[in-house]
Amino acid sequence: MSKKVITREEWEKKLNDVKIRKEDMNKLVMNFLVTEGYVDAAEKFRMESGTEPDIDLATITDRMAVKKAVQCGNVEDAIEKVNDLNPEILDTNPQLFFHLQQQRLIELIRNGKVEEALEFAQEELAPRGEENQSFLEELERTVALLAFEDVSNCPVGDLLDISQRLKTASEVNAAILTSQSHEKDPKLPSLLKMLLWAQNQLDEKAAYPRINDLATATLEDPAI
């Protein structure tokens, strides 16, 4: 089946004909900064572009403090901060609470505090499994860390990765955003996903200058 070929010249002309408003782009940027929690950047951007954020920047500071605490491994601190911000969040999000407790255990193990870890697992994590059966599997995985001498090389060693902290941090961030009636995901990634999807759809019908690298967004000539 022969595909239609569109040259770079034709393509760029078509692109130029599409009008995008600056305000829309600013809003997207602001939305991204706010949702991800870049308070200072958001503040500066607001001053420089005159774009109003859709949530109170002050609340972002609190949220970011929580996120940072988790990312640094200070889970207890993070829990205290969340409870100060909104005591309902952890009371109504058993899964989040479990993950935070789980992270605490991981940090204790990482710091070699085995005795404390054992006690903690017994006192804090085991009841979570009793209260809610769906946590049992993850609980078992986490407790398994205690069984290995060389924790970083064991089958559940991935729990010790920084990525685990980031995952937990992201979960807390999302819960706080939801409690503040804000959407937990920024709009930008969805837009990019749509772009990729649209390109894939078009690929079946035409050869045209594609964006292959989202970071640079440069148009690459169609392979002939």
Partner: protein, 737 residues
């Protein structure tokens, strides 16, 4: 890992915190409060252990002291600490009340709800009111308390309470307005309260909250639904330009990004729709709601679980909605969810009930269900751990088994279905037993007369046992099942059933304290004595106690349904031998106390055409020309004034009655003429008609088709002289016979 160590540690820490709570120093107290708060939030186990240590009254005491201390506030530092103590103690109490029943109870026992209200939300505390934290903390905690089933009943009738509620709703803070909405959602139960709230104008504020944050929107939707639920009067007052705005606002929200909001908006619209004959009736909105709810089933969490219940409330009893849902493949979609397996019990129950509603009136839905092999999953659900699921499965079966086509094909009377169903007759839950009886009532209407399967599996024993239950609902439903089981049953089958039942039990059930039970018992006897002449003998068992009971009930009854069944029993018995007919005469001519005439005269004059029909049938059968004793009976009936009453009914408005009366009059007249040979054929026809013992009720389409089926099958049977049309009951609401 030794458990004692862990709990010992816990207690030590716990006691330590509690000790510091009693400290005289505010700083120490504050720190202890915060620690306590951080220990219990999200942690049900800790809540329980601190509860046992008496934490709740201790914290309530601290809150109370702090609130009193506000008046004595002398400097900023003091203010700040007192404020912090109030915030933290409110948060602690709120957390204890969060989804934890024992906690709610303890909090209420300590009077903490009143304390929080007074301390954080009431106008007279201006100093504290300036701290939004205090207000928010108090509002959050009270909201937790009011979300519990044990929440104190909010007395809307008290004017000051209403004012307070309005002040909450009008407050800027979403926590406070959320509290107001929460109080409405959870405390407003009666129609009077609904009216009060509506008249107080809360709807206006609630509508504006629809445009607020997510929390405000959700809370508002729930409250609006609560105000309108099952209250057509309030809905009818919901007119004017505001209404249109509110409704269109909610309709927009049905498309919201958040699933829970979509569900709440749909529920709100359904409530309004169900309470009003004119709102939201167009096809567009109907389709939108159906599609929305079917889509919400995809949500993996609580929202998906509840979506099926919302769907049921949308389509229940409404054939047009069921049809629409069928057209968008509702049955298939529900089935797909059912297939997923290891469903949360609530979700399982919801989907089964939704299917039950879909199949309640439409044959197309039932056929689709059966072709998709839904039955297999439903039968598995009969053995589920949850009684709600078992109940729902029975209801689903009941609906699907209304399919005449499949009943006559014997699709349901097989061991895989009957065995688990019969087992449920012994279930620990009454509700399950009643639901199982409902399904059995339909299934035993087996046209291929394979009822022996049911009997063999011990079904009859259990049904008879249940007919002796203390619970009248169970007695009623057990009798209904037996009534259907015995309908047109073979002689041997009837005999087995009667042996199990016994005459004395039947007689006592006819005289049951519950009228509805009496009715079913009489209907059962009616079906019992139908059939061959020897079936009539049953009523004379044990010195005729059943017949006596029937006669007695007829004389004292005041409910038409009972009188109708009783008359048909007598009418059926009157198709028997001479002695049978004489026995019926005895019963009819027996007068009740203080009554000058036979009860049948009252029936002949009844406003209810069904009763008049039944009464005329009895007279017909007693005076049929071919019976030797008929002329004697006619004289007695004449003397009792019954004949003249029948003659007066020659122009009865009901066609059924009119035709029978015509026949009766012809019979009466035949005794005056001498028997001419030319009249022989006429007599034969009259007699044949006279033996009709059952009448079909054409009001139900299904029953009519069943009747046609039988007319057809009976005609083929040359031995029987008469065609018989039949009467029995599907498990349908009381108004259809």
């Amino acid at each position: 890992m030794p458990t004692t160590t862990a709990s010992a540690v816990c207690t030590t820490v716990g006691n330590n915190i509690l000790l510091r709570l009693t400290s005289g120093e505010r700083d120490v107290k504050l720190k202890a409060l915060r620690e306590l708060k951080n220990q219990i939030i999200g942690n049900r186990t800790k809540k329980l252990s601190f509860l046992k240590l008496g934490a709740v009254p201790a914290v309530a005491g601290i809150l109370s002291d702090a609130v009193s201390a506000v008046d004595v506030a002398d400097n900023d530092e003091n203010d700040r600490i007192v404020k912090d103590i109030i915030v933290q103690s409110a948060a602690v109490l709120g957390s204890f009340a969060c989804g934890f029943e024992a906690g709610v109870r303890a909090v209420l026992d300590a009077g903490a709800d009143i304390l929080i209200q007074r301390g954080c939300l009431v106008e007279e505390m201006p100093l504290l009111k300036s701290y939004m934290e205090v207000v928010d903390a108090g509002a959050r905690s009270l909201k937790m308390i009011y979300q519990s089933k044990m929440a104190p009943k909010y007395d809307f009738l008290q004017e000051e309470n209403m004012e307070f509620l309005l002040s909450l709703l009008n407050n800027e803070s979403e926590n406070v307005s959320g509290l107001g909405a929460s109080i409405i959602s959870h405390s407003c139960k009666t129609s009077l309260e609904q009216k009060l709230l509506f008249d107080a104008g809360v709807l206006k504020r609630l509508t504006s909250l629809l445009g607020g944050s997510l929390i405000q929107r959700d809370a508002s939707l729930e409250s609006i639904a609560t105000i309108f639920k099952n209250n057509p009067e309030v809905v009818s007052q919901f007119v004017g330009p505001d209404t249109g705005r509110t409704l269109s606002c909610i309709i927009e929200i049905v498309k919201d990004r958040f699933a829970r909001t979509r569900l709440l908006a749909s529920l709100c619209l359904i409530v309004i729709r169900n309470a009003s004959p004119c709102y939201l009736q167009d096809v567009g909105i109907k389709t939108k709601l159906i599609n929305n709810l079917l889509e919400l089933l995809d949500d993996p969490g609580r929202v998906g679980d509840e979506a099926s219940f919302a769907f049921s409330s949308l389509i229940a009893e409404k054939e047009d909605m069921q049809k629409l849902a069928f057209e968008v493949n509702g049955v298939d979609k529900l089935y797909n969810h059912l297939q997923k397996g290891s469903l949360h019990p609530r979700r399982f129950e919801g989907i089964l009930l939704a299917l039950a509603d879909m199949c309640s009136k439409l044959e197309c839905c039932r056929s689709r269900c059966l072709s998709l092999q839904v039955l297999k999953l439903v039968v598995d659900a009969l053995a589920h751990d949850s009684s709600d699921v078992r109940s729902a499965a029975c209801m689903c079966l009941r609906s699907v088994s209304r399919s005449i086509k499949n009943l006559s094909a014997g699709s349901f009377m097989n061991e895989t279905i009957v065995i688990p169903l019969v087992r449920l007759l012994d279930d620990t839950s009454t509700a399950v037993q009643v639901a199982a009886l409902g399904a059995i009532s339909n299934i035993v209407v087996d046209f291929t007369t394979r009822r022996s399967t049911f009997i063999r599996l011990g079904g009859v024993k259990l049904l008879v046992q249940l007919s002796k239950s203390m619970d009248s609902t169970i007695r009623l439903n057990a009798l209904r099942a037996l009534r259907n089981l015995i309908f047109l049953a073979e002689d041997k089958c009837k005999e087995e059933i009667f042996m199990e039942l016994t005459a004395s039990l039947l007689a006592s059930l006819i005289c049951d304290p519950e009228p509805s039970v009496q009715e079913q018992a009489l209907a059962l006897v009616r079906n019992l004595v139908d059939g061959r002449i020897n079936s009539v003998e049953y009523i004379f068992a044990e010195d005729g106690i059943i017949l006596d009971a029937v006669g007695r009930q007829l004389r004292i009854a005041s409910k038409a349904e009972i009188e109708i069944q009783g008359m048909y029993v007598l009418g059926n018995v009157a198709t028997g031998k001479e002695s049978h007919k004489e026995a019926v005469m005895d019963q009819l001519l027996l007068r009740a106390e203080n009554k000058a005439q036979s009860c049948i005269i009252k029936f002949l004059q009844s406003n209810d055409s069904r009763l008049r029909t039944a009464a005329v049938w009895a007279v017909l059968n007693l005076t049929c020309s071919s019976s030797p004793g008929s002329s004697g009976r006619l004289v007695k009936l004449h003397d009792a004034g019954i004949v003249s009453h029948v003659k007066n009914m020659v122009n009865d408005p009901c066609l059924d009655v009119k035709l029978r009366v015509k026949t009766a009059l012809e019979q009466f007249n035949s005794f005056d003429d001498s028997l001419a040979s030319t009249s022989c054929l006429q007599f034969l026809t009259v007699r044949a008609v006279g033996e009709l013992s059952h009448v079909v009720d054409p009001s139900s389409k299904e029953e009519e088709s069943i009747a046609n089926y039988f007319r057809f099958s009976m005609k083929k049977n040359k031995k029987k002289k008469s065609t018989r049309t039949v009467k029995f009951c599907f498990d349908v609401p009381a108004d259809s016979l």
